[in-house]
Every structure is written in structure tokens, then in C-alpha cells.
């Protein structure tokens, strides 16, 4: 008889969880750090730090090359991480998981390799949205010296939601790809990506999702979404910097030529001709970020300890609480008020530049982001040079939001 043992998940307790993240105990400018810039990068649990230390201290060797003990160990750990990623996003196969440096490299890879696969011809169109990060705008523009690809942009409402009617009208016979952000880093909007994909697929157009902000917040299932490509960064999801993932459906990855050439991606090389290795190694030229891959595996293990709905519920609580508290501040305006939002709040205060807000609250150890968030077009849409942005992870607390609110009141007093 086969019985399935029910998985026992770790209970979510924010105070207890904070002990897992050593940096949260540090002081900045004499004050306890209040880290509210999680959309830029997340902090790392001890388990991830330990995985990196363990690898460099005891297990370091190059992978896929040696037949000696350490090389096999490193290879095994790195490939185990690939399997973890596969399960984490529910890909069909581990060979659909390409390790890259981050979301930016993933999108550049798709742009470059689709171009070289002659997926586009001059005049073809890629649909993006007006809330894209520069990482999903510039790679397509860079292709211009190979193919003249026109970017068609889905407009947004004042609340920061995509105009889906306009989107449907943008799709035509020249549309060769839809490439949109899953969650906006500047507004926090969670886009209806399933619907976007359905609409595109009905017209035979593949879809790439920039999942950099989505992966740290909730469970993503690429098969359920039916995404053709999904890109994300490890460092925003409690893993190390310099490691990220491109998921691609096999049918696309197979027809795409390699992005870069070098070691570990070939089958045979002569000076006349080279044949390439199978997926995923065709896209992983050179020695990869082995430690980063192993660290990302540790980050996934960390997240998997919990019922991710518990983490999301806490983040939603923080979002609601902060929205309520910030809205009560006179002269403060939240930019991005979509119905479906992740725990990201962009705001401006009348008469006070975001730079000044950020500088003053930093003296109290509070870290928020200020600027255009690498999404200048969305700033232009709202006619703002910059915003201040607080973004929360599951390890943030109500008390930290209270400190932010106090800090903003202090700023307002200084500039009164």
C-alpha cells in the first residue's frame, strides 16, 4: 500500500522568521535597519548564506567536466538546483530551465536568439506595456541593427492597470511576440497575464513574461499560465545576485540558436564547424555561476518550507496597512492603485522631491527606493520625474511601516 505523507509546513511567524535573516539585526546610522526596498533586491536567509559558504569552503570545483569526486559533487548540486527550479515554477522538464545572470540577461537572450532564428522580419512587431522595466524595452531596441522590430505599447489606466481592449486591438499579423511584465516594479500592479496569454495564443503569438517581481511574492506555475518564456532573478527571491532563470518551452528553445558560444555548450568543435549540445547546455556557454545556482536552490528550499499563501497573506496585510497609513498623510499621493497589487507602494509628496524623502529617512536607518525605478516611460506616463517606493517582503512588520510613516512626518516637518 502506498500512502502519501502529508507535507508539514513551517508555521509562519514573522518575528521568528526575522531571525533567519541576519542583516535585519544590523544598525544603520545608529538606528536599527528598516529595509523596505525589497523590489530592488531581497535580503538573504542564513540558509542561503550557508549554502554559498559551504560550496566555496568545501565543495568548489568546476561542473560538467571532471570525473573526480568534487566535480561530480558540484555538478550534482548545481543540477539539483535546476530540478528545484523546475518544480518551483512547474516546468515540464528541467531542460527548459536555463541558468542566466538574471531577468535582464534572460530577456536579452530571447531577443537575440529569436532574432537569429529568423523569428522576426523587418517591420514585425513586439507588444510590450507602458509599465515595462527598461530590461524589457532596451533589448528589443538593440535588435534594430539586425531586424527592424517595432515596439507596440499597451496603454494603462490612471490607476495603473493595463487597457486590455487596447491590447487586443494591437495584435495583428505582424505581431511576433508579446513581452510583458507580470508585476510592475514601479506600480506594484499584478497584470492579468493568464488572460494576456490566452488572447495572444488565440492569434498564434507566443508570450514572454518578466517575472522578476512576481516570483518572490507568490507561486508561479508556468504550465498553468501556458507562458512560452518566463524570466526571473534569484536575488529578488532571497537568493544570490548574478543568478537567474529563463524558462522556455522546449519547442522554442529547440529552434533558437545559442546566445553565446564557448565551453560547455558544444558537442563537437572543428575550425570549420561546431555542433551544439542539447538543452539546456546549448544556452549555458562557459562556467556558470555555480555557487549562485546552488544558492538559488537553497532560497527555493527556504520558501518551500512555508505554505506560500501564508507569506502572501502577510504581505497583503502589510500592503493594506501601509496603504491606509500612507493615505492619511496630507499631500501624499500613491502612484499605482490597481485592484490587484503586490506589496509595492510608489508615492509622491506634494512639494517634496523623492530624493529629499529618501535622504532624510535614511538617517533613521530606513531604506526605500527613490528615482525612476529603471522604468522611465511609466514615470513619463504620470508626468513625474521620480517617485519614492516602499516595497515589502514577508519579513517586514507593521512596526516597520509605523517607522516609515513617522519618518515621512519628520520629512514633512523639515520641509514645512
Amino acid at each position: 500500500m502506498i500512502t502519501t505523507i502529508p507535507e508539514v509546513k513551517r508555521k509562519f511567524d514573522v518575528e521568528e522568521i526575522r531571525n533567519d535573516f541576519p542583516i535585519l539585526k544590523r544598525f544603520v546610522n545608529g538606528k536599527q535597519l528598516v529595509y523596505l526596498d525589497n523590489a530592488a533586491t531581497s535580503q538573504k536567509p542564513q540558509a542561503v548564506i550557508d549554502a554559498l559558504t559551504q560550496y566555496y569552503t568545501f565543495d568548489n570545483a568546476n561542473i560538467h567536466r571532471g570525473l573526480y569526486f568534487l566535480s561530480e559533487l558540484a555538478t550534482d548540486q548545481f543540477e539539483t538546483s535546476r530540478l528545484k527550479v523546475k518544480e518551483f515554477i512547474n516546468a515540464l522538464s528541467a531542460s527548459e530551465i536555463i541558468f542566466v545572470r538574471g531577468t535582464t540577461e534572460a530577456i536579452n537572450l530571447v531577443a537575440s536568439s529569436l532574432c537569429r532564428a529568423k523569428h522576426f522580419k523587418d517591420g514585425d512587431e513586439v507588444i510590450i506595456s507602458s509599465m515595462e522595466h527598461h530590461a524589457n524595452i532596451v533589448p528589443w531596441q538593440l535588435m534594430n541593427d539586425r531586424k527592424k522590430i517595432a515596439l507596440k505599447v499597451i496603454p494603462i489606466t490612471d490607476e495603473g492597470e493595463l487597457d486590455l481592449d487596447a491590447y487586443e486591438k494591437l495584435i495583428n499579423e505582424k505581431t511576433k511576440l508579446v513581452s510583458v511584465v507580470h508585476i510592475s516594479n514601479a506600480l506594484g500592479t499584478v497584470n492579468p497575464v493568464k488572460k494576456i496569454i490566452e488572447t495572444a495564443h488565440a492569434r498564434g503569438v507566443p508570450v514572454l513574461l518578466d517575472g522578476a517581481q512576481a516570483i518572490p511574492h507568490f507561486k508561479v506555475d508556468v504550465q498553468e499560465l501556458d507562458a512560452d518564456f518566463y524570466a526571473f532573478s534569484g536575488h529578488k527571491a532571497f537568493g544570490p545576485t548574478g543568478i537567474g532563470v529563463l524558462y522556455g518551452k522546449t519547442e522554442y528553445l529547440e529552434m533558437m540558436p545559442p546566445y553565446q558560444g564557448g565551453g560547455d555548450m558544444i558537442r563537437t568543435v572543428t575550425f570549420e564547424k561546431t555542433t551544439f549540445d542539447d538543452l539546456p547546455r546549448k544556452f549555458e556557454a562557459g562556467t556558470p555561476n555555480i555557487a549562485g545556482g546552488i544558492g538559488l536552490g537553497a532560497a527555493i528550499n527556504y520558501m518551500n518550507q512555508f505554505d506560500r499563501n501564508d507569506l502572501a497573506a502577510h504581505e497583503n496585510y502589510l500592503l493594506r496597512y501601509a496603504t491606509e497609513k500612507l493615505s492619511q498623510i496630507e499631500g501624499l499621493r500613491i502612484i499605482g492603485t490597481a485592484k490587484e497589487k503586490a506589496s509595492v507602494i510608489s508615492f509622491v509628496i506634494e512639494g517634496i522631491h523623492p530624493y529629499d524623502i529618501g535622504t532624510i529617512i535614511d538617517t533613521d536607518g530606513i531604506a526605500i527606493r527613490t528615482g525612476h525605478h529603471c522604468a522611465q516611460p511609466i514615470m513619463q506616463r504620470y508626468n513625474l520625474p521620480a517617485t519614492a517606493r516602499a516595497s515589502f517582503a514577508f519579513y517586514n512588520t507593521k512596526e516597520e511601516i509605523d517607522k516609515l510613516v513617522l519618518g515621512i512626518h519628520k520629512v514633512k516637518k523639515m520641509f514645512a
Binding site: Y355, G358, T359, T363
Partner: protein, 150 residues
């Protein structure tokens, strides 16, 4: 209106600023003074608040213009962020109304001494570093003009 610096040398002004800021032990007081200095800075002629005079920074906008009066350079500048504007006011206090040679031979030592060098760091990208560079570029350019007419 153009802002003229004092009759002091660049280094005398720097020393004076360092002395003034020594009395502030709290960051908050330091910034309050910087903001005040920015508020006192004369407004830049609106015709110079264009892209041509704008220094690119990720975080705030800075506009700068310079004119030669006799053998001295007069700077005027502005920013949309109050703290950056205050920092600019300090730079203008130090460098405006001095000759290109004086400007080029006097590094901004007060910046580190009063502890605002964090605003020059790459991550801030606030245009202050760009502004310092621009002041030196204006000095070098005007020096070339002066040397030619000699």
C-alpha cells in the same frame, strides 16, 4: 540673477564651511542647514532650465550655467531636489567668482570634511558629482578662452 561668491579664496571659503558644519552633531541639523542654504540660493534664470543645461542624474535634476565676468567665472545652478540644491549652493559659495586657475587648482576638500561625500557616490547619481565635474569643465573651457586672448 547671477550669484557671486565671496572675496575669500576658495580654500578660505571651504575652511569656513567646514567650521560651520562642525557644530552640527546630528545629521538632521546638517540637512536642515543644507536645505536652508538651497532656499537662499538665487533662482536660476528660467531660460537655462532646459535640457541643454541639465546634468543627467538618476535621482534628481540639476541645471547649471556659467559666465565669464572679467577673468572670473560666475556659476548659477538649480535642482528640483531641496537637498541637492543646498549642496549646489555650497559648491557655488566655494567656486563662483573665481578664476579658472583657482578653480582648477582647488579640489573640493570640504565635501568629505563635512561628511556629504556620500552624495557624490556612484549610487546616488544625483548630479552633484556631475555638477562638480561640470564646474571643472567650465573652468578648463574658460581658461582656454582666456589663454587665447592673452
Amino acid at each position: 540673477m547671477l550669484v557671486k561668491g565671496s572675496a575669500m579664496t576658495i580654500n578660505e571659503t571651504q575652511d569656513k564651511i567646514v567650521k560651520e558644519f562642525e557644530q552640527f552633531s546630528e545629521w538632521e541639523d546638517k540637512y536642515k542647514r543644507i536645505i536652508e542654504l538651497g532656499r537662499q540660493l538665487s533662482a536660476i534664470d528660467e531660460t537655462y532650465k532646459t535640457d541643454k543645461y541639465k546634468l543627467n542624474g538618476c535621482q534628481s535634476q540639476v541645471w547649471i550655467n556659467a559666465k565669464l565676468e572679467g577673468d572670473k567665472i560666475i556659476f548659477e545652478a538649480d535642482s528640483d531636489a531641496a537637498i541637492v540644491k543646498g549642496l549646489i549652493a555650497l559648491l557655488i559659495k566655494v567656486y563662483s567668482n573665481h578664476t579658472p586657475d583657482e578653480i582648477l587648482s582647488s579640489p573640493p576638500e570640504f565635501v568629505k570634511k563635512i561628511g556629504i561625500d556620500n552624495h557624490l557616490s556612484l549610487t546616488r547619481r544625483n548630479g552633484l558629482g556631475a555638477m562638480l565635474k561640470q564646474i571643472q569643465m567650465y573652468a578648463a573651457a574658460f581658461k582656454a578662452v582666456i589663454d587665447k586672448t592673452k
